[in-house]
């Protein structure tokens, strides 16, 4: 196969059995949404635009969880552990290295790499021990809770890595934002229009990349493992390796969220790894429909906006609403509310697929 035709065959995987949207209708809708997202800064205050990057920051973690939980069927409740590890790593690295020469970008790569390494070590023990679904959830949750408690007690001056003080429960601040080296002056990505476009581009790359991944051979295998691990194993796949790889990719995405969030707000706290923080990604992904990347993104954005507007108006009920939403989703629409809403329109197509 020539390299050009290989490239097009990879591109064709952008739609396939593991992703819902397909055909001209979906892609024209997709283009409209993308154009609207691109046009948005032209119609809004740049301060608001910068603030709203907040929503994008979380989507990476949500997509990672969709990959691990929705596609891979492994309940990882501790994605915030990787978020926090990467966030803190980014803070420590950039405070020590500074923001010149594109070192913040190196810090981003190192921080995401560190969270992936952490996921690989943890995942090795979990998946090669072949523990069952429920245990995976509670072990990963325990890991993030212990990390939170560990970081919360690092208030003393002895808890410093180089120039970076960890600051215990108050959290670490004052790390530089991501900075792109550019001829004629570095571009500092403050919460502003530039950061908006950079994050949007990153999001687009990750989304399309993940679509290709889940429709590839690899993606089909992890879905097969979700559906029936024993059968997948009998067909000759090493279930453990596939699960570990999925876990590492998903966790690296959580790490990416952590770095973007830390750089966006110049701030990270232990609470970002706590019980409440850990529960929110579960709500976003479960409500949207975890078995599909697109519905995960729609659900995450919708839930985040509801949550945000509730908390902005000082309502203490935001978390209660989240909890209720989660219980109702599980009881009434176990595949996710967004998927439940669109499935009547999808019925004919999925029926055809079933016959194929």
């Amino acid at each position: 196969m020539s390299s050009a035709s290989r490239f097009t065959s990879i591109l064709k995987l952008i739609e396939g059995p593991q992703t819902l949207g397909k055909g001209p209708k979906f892609w024209s809708g997709f283009t409209v949404v993308l154009l609207a997202a691109c046009a948005y800064p032209a119609f809004a205050d740049s301060y608001d635009v910068g603030n709203n990057v907040y929503f994008f920051n979380w989507l990476f973690m949500a997509m990672g969880l969709s990959l691990i939980w929705g596609y891979g069927g492994a309940l990882s409740f501790g994605q915030t552990a990787f978020f926090g590890v990467a966030g803190y790593a980014y803070g420590v690295l950039t405070i020590n290295l500074g923001d010149a020469y594109g070192l913040t970008l190196l810090s981003l790569v190192l921080a995401v790499g560190l969270s992936a390494l952490f996921a690989a070590i943890l995942g090795y023990f979990l998946f090669f021990g072949r523990i069952s679904g429920v245990f995976l959830g509670i072990v990963t949750l325990s890991v993030t809770l212990v990390l939170e408690r560990f970081m919360a007690q690092t208030a003393g001056p002895e808890w410093a890595i180089g120039k970076a003080r960890l600051n215990g429960f108050n959290g670490m601040g004052a790390m530089p934002s991501l900075t792109i080296p550019w001829p004629g002056g570095n571009i500092v990505l403050y919460p502003d229009v530039t950061l908006y476009y950079v994050t949007l581009a990153l999001l687009l790359v990750c989304y399309l990349g993940l679509r290709i991944l889940v429709n590839s051979r690899f993606g089909n295998v992890i879905v097969a493992i979700r559906e029936n691990p024993m059968r997948a194993e009998m067909l000759g796949y090493d279930v453990r390796k596939y699960q570990l790889a999925t876990f590492v990719i998903g966790s690296a995405l959580a790490g990416l969220s952590g770095v973007l969030y830390t750089s966006w707000g110049n701030y990270i706290t232990p609470a970002s790894m706590g019980m409440t923080a850990a529960s929110l990604p579960i709500v976003w992904v479960a409500v949207g429909g975890r078995t599909d990347l697109t519905t995960t993104i729609i659900g995450t954005l919708a839930v985040l906006m509801v949550f945000q507007s509730l908390t902005i108006y000082g309502s203490q009920y935001a978390l209660i609403v989240m909890g209720t939403l989660l219980v109702i989703t599980v009881l009434i629409a176990p595949r996710g509310i967004v998927i439940a809403l669109i499935s009547p329109f999808m019925r004919r197509k999925s029926k055809l697929e079933g016959e194929r």
């Binding site: 072990v139 949750l141 212990v146 408690r149 009920y317 909890g323 219980v327 599980v330 009881l331």
Partner: protein, 290 residues
């Protein structure tokens, strides 16, 4: 003499850790072992037990009765949760984790809204005694006794009572038990209620020693989780030995490096144990027996 003092100190710490692990985990272990459900609202049943028993103490109820009331309240709450949320999900055990997590969020935040950020504690009863240079709380010794008594009571309940036999029959082959006239739905409700009541008991027992805040349940979760993971599905062959092993690790590390080191050490031990004994201690024992 010095050696004996430090030996006593270690045993005290070990007993304390053991009691905490057993009491915080046994409710979770009963529900998981019997029903295969991991109850993420476990911490909130502990919260319920702690708040109810402390309120009762404030109203002048003697501590033992207050603790029993806390346990009862948590048990009733547990049965309600079972009927409303868990029962429709029996065919989807993984979803019960997510649903109970939702309940946990609702209860934690609800408690915060209704009862405020903290509740006045009732103070640790019984005072203390001195061995060597250190003083020890008598109440902690009581907690160790209570942990052992709870295990003994559970053993009697599951082996000697009619409920225990019906419960074990229901867990082994549900449809046969049902065909023989056992009301399996009732058994599931009672089992879940029992687990919640045990969580409430832990809450009531530890309430006098802790600050009462709506998020206090989370303080028990890590310990409860790791004990159940290491122990596996059987409470007597699993939870109890797991609590011994983990209590030993926790006590050693705590006396060496402090509270947090104990917790981290325990978690690392758990992750290693998973690799070696994926089905926990009880899984290992039962497999060898079979």
């Amino acid at each position: 003499m010095e050696f004996l003092y430090s030996l006593f100190s270690f045993f005290y710490q070990f007993g304390d850790a053991f009691a905490f692990l057993v009491l915080s985990a046994c409710g979770l272990a009963v529900i998981f072992g019997m029903m295969g459900v991991i109850n993420l609202a476990h911490g909130e049943f502990i919260l319920c037990g702690a708040y109810v028993s402390t309120s009762a103490t404030h109203m002048g109820v003697p501590l033992p009765i207050a603790i029993a009331l806390g346990s009862l309240a948590a048990g009733i709450a547990g049965m309600i949760v079972e009927v409303v949320v868990i029962r429709p999900l029996y065919k989807r055990p993984l979803d019960t984790i997510v649903a109970t997590w939702g309940i946990s969020m609702i209860v934690t935040q609800g408690t915060l809204i209704v009862l405020g950020t903290t509740m006045a504690g009732s103070g640790t009863p019984f005072g203390s005694f001195t061995v060597g240079d250190y003083s020890y709380s008598i109440y902690r010794i009581v907690l160790v006794v209570m942990a052992l008594a709870t295990l003994a009571a559970l053993w009697l309940m599951f082996t000697k009572t009619r409920f225990g036999i019906l419960a074990r029959a229901t867990i082994q082959v549900p449809h046969v038990a049902e065909a023989l006239g056992v009301n399996t739905n009732l058994i599931y409700s009672l089992t879940f209620g029992l687990g919640a009541a045990l969580a409430g008991l832990a809450g009531g027992l530890y309430a006098p020693t802790m600050t009462l805040v709506p998020t206090m349940g989370a303080a028990f979760m890590v310990e409860a989780f790791v004990t159940v993971v290491v122990g596996g599905a059987d409470i007597f062959l699993g939870t109890a030995p797991a609590a011994v092993v983990l209590g030993f690790i926790k006590a050693s590390l705590t006396s060496w490096q402090g509270q947090l080191a104990g917790q981290i050490g325990m978690l690392i031990a758990v992750i290693i144990v998973i690799r070696i004994l994926p089905r926990g201690i009880s899984g290992k024992i039962l497999k060898e027996r079979a």
